[in-house]
Subunit: 132 residues, 4 copies
């Protein structure tokens, strides 16, 4: 699995005193960068070939500002033009959240999904995790 | 259903040129306020009795800065201490996203779920939607 | 002055319990839209002709989630290629923040400032405020 | 000077394609943590003794997602109850922004400023920078 360390920002907190639930989609997006790179090594936004179709997020424990969070990301099911990203967030040895995202290989000009090419498929296969 | 109008902020966009997927959890949270109020009329954060346990989000169409977004929110299944919130986001007559959140009636001091009282249950029953 | 009403979002709060100082630049940017439109009626980001060079922000009172905030914006000094935007934020009858931004009329391709044309200058002159 | 490395998040970008101006107050706040600690070693938000009264930000060059940003922070003028924080943001060897914040030593209960104690004053004096 890919590992990415997030430093929670004070701005990720909310008035309830802890990290806002809304921080996780931001963190998980950032932690998907190595996966975006498997599709699109340049990460150039002008030719970005992916769209996020679905997000699932389970919030399992309170998360605190002041300690780093490790995000682990891997690839679940891969379909014709879609790919499942499974992510876990850990803080102080405890799993605080779990996410599942569905990415579509996508052509923004025609607004249509496009099949995942074999070379990308091979790279995705190197980072498997069990589907959530 | 409760309706809440969101004015997308320029800051809700990202380098792909449109509204970021990460804006929806922020908007949906804000649009849940009338539902939070059914549980906790004062909305005082010191005695906040709810925790978000799960989020599901389907992104159905690109969303643009510059046009308002209407969020419709209603109550799906209600369990002993949990409650499902079903939300839709519409822009320019098109459904752009759909969300499902699971709220837990929660005591932050003991870190335990607590049953939803009957009066709250009665108020929730006035805003039903089909579960997603 | 231009008036823009902001609905503070729960996500604009932080762990100190009130609106984060970081929300004001976001709100002020959104409230500058009528001013951006004086320069660039389409608001098309592909041909955006402005860059923000400087921000000053005075935080005058605590700001709360749950009440709308009115942002008033007007034009201060106008130079050859720059323009000062003066902004005030009011909540519950109290001025909670004051901002001053310096916008540069800018060509992103050549990365150079460009003089403000006379027609824009005339439109800016219709929205004067005293410079901060 | 204190150094803090920020990893720009994709969510820090906006539709203009680069890092939003609104990211800098967020980054600078996070990078002030070692300074907050000089006042308040526990960083406990319940007894937080500081309020931000003023922010100045000069945006000097475009900032990009994909490369780390180093924030350098030091102490400028120190008054009876206020303290100036001078901050610089560097990316790829270039200064991209400069900030100046004014912190007030503050009692949130009485909503009044309080003099900076001598021990804090001594610790602040160990991190001087020229005032902006």
């Amino acid at each position: 699995m890919f590992e990415y360390e997030i430093e929670p920002r004070f701005n990720d907190t909310d008035a309830l005193g802890h990290i806002s639930n809304t921080a996780f989609p931001v963190w998980f997006e950032q932690a998907r960068m190595p996966i975006f790179r498997l599709f699109h090594p340049s990460l150039d936004v002008e030719s970005w070939p992916l769209i996020l179709a679905r997000v699932e997020l389970d919030l399992k424990a309170q998360t605190y500002w002041g300690s780093p969070v490790t995000i682990r990301s891997g690839i679940g099911r891969v379909g014709t033009s879609s790919c499942e990203v499974i992510q876990e967030a850990w803080q102080n040895g405890r799993e605080v959240a779990r996410g599942r995202g569905v990415l579509i290989h996508f052509d923004y000009d025609s607004e249509q999904s496009i099949p995942i090419p074999d070379d990308v498929r091979a790279r995705l296969a190197e980072h498997p995790v069990d589907s959530a």
